[in-house]
C-alpha cells in the first residue's frame, strides 16, 4: 500500500478541471444527408448491393464495410426489438419496415405499454425542426400501423458538410499527499516546497513519493527559494486556444534555487525586441506573488520577472 509521507495529511478538496473542446464533426455523405433531410421530415437509409437497406443511412456496412449503392427513403413505421429504461428515458431498438438493421431511439410510452415486437411509428418533434436525429422526438406505439415501404429518395438534400459540436468533460482530480502539501504550503506560507531527490540535496518540483529517474523513495521536504534561473524559454506572440493571458509573453522553464527540476511559468514583457535581449537561458528571475488571499495554486505566483543584473 502507499507509504505514509513524512508530513501530516492534507485534507484538500479535489481540484476541479474541465476539458471543453470544440469540434467540427464530419458526418460524411450518408449521415450528412440523413441529418439534412430531418427538416424535410424524411428518414434516409442506405441500400446495399444485396438489396438490404440500413437506416439511419450509413456510408459503410457495420458488418462487412461494404459501401451502399443508393440512398433511399425509409418508412416511419417499424417494430420494437428490444428496450430498456435509463432514468426516465425509455430507449429501444427499432427496425423500420423494409430495413435489415436496428437502431436505438427513444420510445415515447410508459413501460407497461411496451413490448418487444410491438409496432411503432416515428413522432416528429414540435420543438426541434433542425438537422438533428432528435427532429424525430421518438417512436410511439402504433398497433394498427400498416407495413411501410422503402422508396427511392427523390431530390435528396445536400449532405451537411461539418457539424459544430462541443463536448465538455468534468474532472475532480485528487491532489494526493505530495501535491497536496505543496499547494497547501503555497497557500498557507507563500512558499514553494519540494522533496529532495533520492540521491541529493536539490528538491524535485512538484514533489512526489518516488524519484522518476531512480525509482527510489524521495527524501525529506525542503523549501525552495522563489528566485531561480531560466533553463528554456520561448517568446509567445501567437494567440492559441487555451491561453490564460494576452500575447506577447514569455513561456519559461525555471529552475528555482534549491530545486533540480524545471517549473513552467510566464514572464510578462513590454515588447518583443527587448525581451529577446533580456530573457534567455541563464537569466535570473524572481516570482511575483499575487496580491490578496492565496488560493493554493501555481497561479498564486502571478508571473516571474527578470532580476536586473
Amino acid at each position: 500500500m502507499l507509504y505514509a509521507p513524512d508530513t501530516s495529511p492534507i485534507d484538500l478538496p479535489t481540484f476541479h478541471s474541465v476539458i471543453s473542446l470544440p469540434y467540427t464533426l464530419t458526418p460524411g455523405r450518408c449521415a450528412g444527408t440523413f441529418l439534412a433531410e430531418m427538416p424535410n421530415r424524411r428518414i434516409v437509409g442506405s441500400r446495399f448491393a444485396d438489396g438490404s437497406v440500413v437506416c439511419p443511412a450509413q456510408d459503410f456496412s457495420s458488418l462487412d464495410g461494404e459501401e451502399p449503392e443508393a440512398l433511399v427513403q425509409a418508412p416511419e413505421t417499424g417494430t420494437l426489438t428490444g428496450f430498456t429504461r435509463v432514468g426516465t428515458d425509455v430507449i429501444g431498438l427499432i427496425r423500420l419496415d423494409g430495413c435489415a438493421n436496428e437502431f436505438p431511439h427513444r420510445i415515447l410510452a410508459d413501460l407497461p405499454a411496451i413490448a418487444v415486437g410491438m409496432r411503432v411509428a416515428a413522432r416528429w418533434s414540435d420543438d426541434d425542426k433542425g438537422t438533428s436525429i432528435l427532429a424525430i422526438e421518438g417512436f410511439v406505439p402504433a398497433p394498427d400501423a400498416p407495413q411501410g415501404e422503402v422508396k427511392p429518395l427523390v431530390g435528396p438534400a445536400e449532405p451537411l458538410g461539418v457539424i459544430p459540436y462541443a463536448m465538455a468533460l468534468n474532472y475532480e482530480h485528487a491532489y494526493g499527499p505530495y501535491y497536496g502539501r505543496m499547494f497547501d504550503e503555497i497557500r498557507e506560507g507563500g512558499r514553494v516546497m519540494g522533496v529532495r531527490g533520492s540521491g541529493g540535496d536539490d528538491a524535485l518540483l512538484p514533489p512526489r513519493e518516488i524519484d522518476d529517474i531512480t525509482h527510489k523513495r524521495t527524501g525529506t521536504w525542503k523549501a525552495c527559494a522563489d528566485t531561480g534561473t531560466i533553463r528554456a524559454c520561448s517568446i509567445i506572440n501567437m494567440e492559441v486556444y487555451g491561453q490564460t493571458r494576452p500575447v506577447p509573453y514569455v513561456y519559461a522553464e525555471i529552475v528555482l534555487d534549491g530545486a533540480s527540476t524545471r517549473m513552467i511559468h510566464m514572464i510578462d514583457i513590454d515588447d518583443l525586441e527587448s525581451a529577446k535581449k533580456s530573457i534567455k537561458p541563464g537569466t535570473r528571475v524572481r516570482a511575483i506573488w499575487t496580491k490578496g488571499e492565496r488560493k493554493g495554486a501555481v497561479s498564486d505566483i502571478e508571473r516571474f520577472e527578470v532580476i536586473d543584473a
Binding site: 502507499l2 428496450f83 436505438p104 512526489r208
Partner: protein, 371 residues
C-alpha cells in the same frame, strides 16, 4: 530457436476503492510498481520494457501515460501505452517476450473513474450523430442486452441477484476491495434501477486502483524461486461497433477469443479450467461470457456462474477499475495457481482469464494460464 515460454512471475495491487480521494494516479502507480518486485529477486533494472493501460478520457489529460512515466519506472526504458484494458497490455508484453525480443516486462494498468463522469466516458465511445443525442450509451446497451437475455431464457431477477451477492461475498473474502457490508440478494434487488431490468448493483461498480504484473521468460521464471505460472494461450476478438448489429443473446467475440486461446493451449474448451476469472460489465455480461467461454450452454450461464471456480476474487461486479479490470483478473488467477492451497484448490491447475472493453463488451480477450 523456438519461442520462449512466458510466465506471470508476480503481481501487486492497490486496494480497489470507490474513490482514492487522497492519492493521485502516480501515487497508486508507484505503489504497485514498487511492490511488484518483492520476493522475485528481480529489480526494475531487470525490466526490458513497460507497457501500461489507462484511458485519457478517464484520466482527464491527453497521452496521460507521459505524466506517469516516472511512477511507472519507465525512465529511459521502452514504454508503450495500450488504450484498452490491461489484459491487452499483457498480451502485447507476452508477445514481446515470447518472440525472444525481451526477457522481463512490467505491465501496469490504472484507473481513477472517481475523478470523472463515467457516463460521459461511455458516451464518448458511441456515435455522435445517431446514438449520443438519443441517450444511448453503456447503461442503455447493457439494459437492452439484459432485457433480451431474460426474455429469451426465463431467468429471474432473484437468480441474477444471487450471482451478484455471491460476487460481493467473494470480494469481501478476498480483501482487495473496499466495501461496507457485502450486499445480499435482497440488497441487490433493492439497489435502484440502473437500466431496466438491471439494478445498480447488477452493473459493475467503477472503482479506483492500480495493478502491476511482472512477466518474464521461462528461464528467469524457473530461477526465481516462485512457482511459475505460464501463459499457454491468448486470444482476442471484437464485436462490430454497432451494438444493434451484434448477435442477440451471445458474445461472439468471447467465443472467438476463447477458441484462439484454448486452441493454442491445446484445451478442448474453456471448461478445462479450474480457475475462471472474468470481467462482466453487468451480471448478464458475466453469463454471456461464461457461455462464450464454453462453460455453459446458451442461456445456462447462470449454472456456471454459481460454480466455485468462477470469480473467486469477486470479479468485476463489485470492483471494476475500468481499463485495469482484466489485468486484475490475470493477477488474481495467477495467484490462485501459484498458491493453490490458499485458493482452496487441490493442486496444479489451469486458469482461464477474460478481459473486456467498449460499450456492452465490444472487445474481448482471453488468456489460458497453467502451472
Amino acid at each position: 530457436m523456438g519461442y520462449s515460454q512466458v510466465a506471470v512471475l508476480a503481481s501487486a495491487q492497490t486496494q480497489l476503492r470507490p474513490a482514492w480521494n487522497d492519492a493521485q494516479h502516480i501515487d497508486l502507480i508507484s505503489a504497485v510498481v514498487g511492490n511488484v518486485f518483492k520476493g522475485t529477486g528481480l529489480t526494475l533494472d531487470d525490466v526490458d520494457f513497460v507497457i501500461d493501460s489507462g484511458s485519457d478520457v478517464l484520466d482527464g489529460r491527453s497521452i496521460s501515460n507521459c505524466g506517469f512515466l516516472g511512477a511507472l519506472g519507465a525512465h529511459h526504458k521502452e514504454e508503450a501505452r495500450v488504450e484498452e484494458d490491461g489484459l491487452w497490455a499483457a498480451l502485447y508484453g507476452v508477445n514481446k517476450i515470447r518472440s525472444g525480443a525481451s526477457s522481463v516486462g512490467l505491465i501496469v494498468a490504472y484507473s481513477k473513474p472517481s475523478e470523472s463522469d463515467v457516463d460521459l466516458y461511455w458516451s464518448s465511445m458511441v456515435d455522435p450523430f445517431y446514438q449520443r443525442p438519443v441517450g444511448f450509451g453503456q447503461k442503455a446497451a447493457l439494459g437492452i442486452q439484459a432485457q433480451r437475455y431474460l426474455a429469451a431464457h426465463g431467468i429471474t431477477d432473484r437468480a441474477l441477484a444471487d450471482v451478484v451477492a455471491r460476487r460481493w461475498a467473494a470480494a469481501a473474502a478476498n480483501d482487495k476491495v473496499a466495501m461496507g457490508k457485502a450486499p445480499d440478494a435482497d440488497a441487490v434487488l433493492g439497489s435502484g434501477e440502473a437500466a431496466l431490468p438491471l439494478t445498480n448493483l447488477m452493473i459493475s461498480r467503477p472503482v479506483d486502483g492500480a495493478v502491476a504484473v511482472l512477466l518474464c521468460d521461462g528461464d528467469i521464471a524457473r530461477r526465481s524461486g516462485r512457482p511459475p505460472v505460464y501463459v499457454t494461450g491468448m486470444g482476442t476478438s471484437l464485436e462490430t461497433h454497432s451494438f444493434a448489429a451484434r448477435s442477440v443473446n451471445r458474445l461472439d467475440s468471447v467465443e472467438k477469443a476463447a477458441a484462439m486461446a484454448c486452441g493454442k493451449a491445446g484445451w478442448a474448451s474453456g471448461a478445462a479450467a479450474d480457475v475462471v476469472e472474468i470481467s462482466g460489465s453487468s451480471v448478464i455480461g458475466e453469463l454471456l461470457t461464461l457461455e462464450g467461454l464454453g462453460l455453459a450452454a446458451a442461456g445456462r450461464g447462470i449454472d456456471a456462474a454459481m460454480d466455485d471456480k468462477v470469480n473467486r476474487s469477486g470479479g468485476a461486479l463489485p470492483a471494476d477499475p475500468i481499463m485495469a479490470t482484466g489485468l486484475v483478473r490475470l493477477a488474481e488467477a495467477a495467484k490462485q495457481l501459484a498458491a493453490p492451497a490458499r485458493a482452496g484448490l487441490a493442486g496444479p491447475a489451469k486458469a482461464l482469464v477474460h478481459g473486456t472493453g467498449g460499450v456492452a463488451m465490444q472487445t474481448n480477450c482471453a488468456f489460458t494460464l497453467e502451472v
